[in-house]
Symmetry: C2
Subunit: 184 residues, 2 copies
DNA sequence: CGATATATAGAGTCCGTACTCCGTTTAGAA
DNA sequence: TTCTAAACGGAGTACGGACTCTATATATCG
């Protein structure tokens, strides 16, 4: 693969993330314009719009996964879990696409995206398990519903353009439900 | 307004709700087909696709509002609040559009839809206030974050096609955070 | 029943967007 | 420096979907 081709691929991916982050319905032309290349170049690297969208999705899922993995190594279990949760939700407030990425993490079509989604869920499951072991999260909460809460909080925050203060109070309510010491 | 015109308007609205409930990106032709009328008829009643979508949105918001009002009259405050919350979320699981309606309730463009959104928020605010007075919901939860949770839970449930059991466990976690007796 | 304003159907127009074709340019090995 | 395979740009194609035009049909009032 030629060096300029590799560069262009990277620039296109970056532009696509930016453009689709602002408006998921944006056109391929918009991506090409922002990347500073011709349309044909975009389609050479990503033969179909779906494949381009999937590449962006994969990128985002992997980035989230890496963050989860890093947090698991660096911080105590409780802060790692709640910190990750808060980070994702607050990022989703401004970046439209994060929430979509999460939602799609289960049902992605392409192989790469599906793998990335699985990786993210594993990493987040690990954060959850550790926080449960250390007693920071109630033990009877299972992964599916906690993940659903993460998705929901992200999408909720996205939709409304939630103010930071409200978002934090919303998360506080959520976290109170997740902490141990209450019977259902 | 002629009687047949009124009938058609109603049929078109019904068809639109059905069609857009299944696929928000559906075309106007699809709506006309299902309603059993020509495309032109759809456009005569709703001069623009946006106006058709807004009419559907208004319908949905008013329906939700009515349910909230009815519940406030019939049941004890706690059951009314949590019952409404659960109903909305479980309905959102199958009906794609409920969540979108909620999200748009704050930022609707047309006057009708905006009024309907305000009405719904008032009715839900009333449910919340009564549940707080009766001690079923913690007093320090303010409306914006609770409404954000409702939207989030609905959108979360929608996105993943959540199984009922998982959805209920998710709601249980949420409700534990909303009930009194815990310090933030 | 007849007159007429009101409604309707669906073919036609226009435009935006995904994707292709091909003549031109350029990286990089000899 | 030269040569060629690889990459590029952008005009061109195909298609779907929002919206219109007009000839036809029908409700309703006297």
């Amino acid at each position: 693969m030629r060096a300029d081709a590799r560069d262009n691929r990277t620039r296109i991916l970056g532009a696509a993330e930016e453009v689709f982050g602002r408006a998921p319905s944006a056109s391929t032309d918009d991506v090409a314009k922002l990347a500073g290349v011709g349309i044909a170049t975009v389609f050479r690297h990503f033969p179909t719009k779906v494949e381009l969208l999937e590449a962006v999705l994969t990128l985002r899922l992997e980035r989230l996964r890496n963050r989860a993995v890093r947090l698991a190594d660096e911080t105590d279990p409780g802060s790692a879990f709640f910190g990750f949760f808060s980070q994702v939700v607050s990022e989703a407030t401004s970046k439209l696409a994060i929430a979509d990425a999460l939602s799609a993490s289960g049902s992605a079509v392409g192989q790469d995206a599906r793998n990335a989604g699985t990786g993210l869920r594993e990493a987040f499951g690990n954060l959850l398990a550790r926080a449960q072991h250390s007693g920071d999260v109630r033990a009877d909460a299972e992964f599916p519903e906690v993940y659903a809460l993460l998705i929901g909080a992200s999408r909720g925050a996205t939709a409304v353009g939630l103010e930071p203060a409200v978002r934090d109070r919303m998360l506080a309510l959520l976290y109170d439900g997740l902490r141990p010491g209450r019977t259902t």
